[in-house]
Amino acid sequence: MNRQVVFIVIVIAAVFVLATAFAQQHRPYNQIMKDVGATFASLKKNLDANSATAAAQDAAKLEGLFAETEAFWAPFDTKDAISFAKRARDAAAAVGAAAKGNDIKAAQESYSVIQKNCANCHFSHREETGKGFLIKP
């Protein structure tokens, strides 16, 4: 009986450890950025069309994507990139809140904050090669 209990505990612990390790794995950065690009374009389209509900959905998705971006940079000593991602995430949350309140003007202003942080981060950490982009540390 005791052996069975110990065995079950070990199996549960192993599953927990594996699940945690899997959860900590990052998606490739280029995939995150492609998703950001598409969602950001969709957000602009929806804000311009005064589609508050769809814009709020895009903003929520962006919030998650910028959290992923932040997690990518977290292990490195690159505080500026972490800050850009964090500020973009906060701005996405602000877009979402404004859109839910049907305040498109405020949402547009926060949208500009996202855009500014994206541009600043790309200026410092994205290098164009002609065939694609490289991530500068």
């Binding site: 950065y29 490195f76 000593d77 690159t78 500026d80 410092s124 991530i135 540390p137």
Partner: protein, 190 residues
């Protein structure tokens, strides 16, 4: 007569050009430029899409190929608690210093200071390399530099005038290095 003057001028210009070429192609000039090239290349590495540092090891190895195993290096302080220059003994310890630059600094731009004969010609003209044959064999070179770099962690940019003294052994490797950086100033936008 006009043809003679033009021909003389062309010859004169060609002679000046040849002299300039000879100085620029001197072995000492190449040694200095190679050292600066390797130093400036230390930030030419990237992060992979899955978050791995790629290429930094090769750049450090390439820089370390210049040094002899018993190298003695005097370098600027690189620790917040350190006041004054740091004396580093041995290739492995110099490697740690080089790795530290590669991993903590970006947008490295160390340049050879130029000079003309005139009193104000400090930013154009010749890249002067002073050299001497060492009594125990090998060559010593010295040159003025301007060092510019940014901190990787927050992109703050710094600039400092400085000088480099390098002693090469008969084996062509660096046995002594002295890098002096004075008046390190943060570069801030106006």
């Amino acid at each position: 007569m006009r043809q003679l003057i033009i021909s003389t001028l062309i010859l004169l210009l060609a002679a000046i050009q040849l002299q300039a070429q000879a100085a620029a192609d001197s072995p000492e000039q190449k040694l200095a430029e190679e050292w600066l090239k390797q130093l400036n290349a230390l930030d030419d590495w990237y992060l992979s899409v899955d978050g791995k540092e790629e290429g930094v090891e090769q750049l450090v190895n390439s820089m370390m190929d210049l040094y002899a195993p018993d190298v003695l290096a005097e370098v600027p302080p690189h620790d917040k608690d350190q006041i004054g220059p740091v004396m580093i003994r041995g290739k492995e310890n110099v490697r740690k210093w080089v790795e530290r630059i590669a991993k903590t600094q970006v947008r490295l731009n160390y340049i050879l200071k130029r000079q003309t004969e005139g009193p104000t010609g400090e930013y154009e003209g010749w890249r002067l390399i002073y050299s001497t044959k060492l009594p125990w064999g090998g060559t010593g070179i010295a040159f003025q530099i301007i060092g510019v770099w940014s901190l990787r962690e927050d992109r703050r940019r710094f600039m400092a005038p400085g000088a480099v003294f390098i002693q090469y052994g008969p084996d062509g490797k660096i046995h002594r290095l002295r890098l002096l950086l004075a008046e390190i100033d943060e570069v801030k936008p106006l």
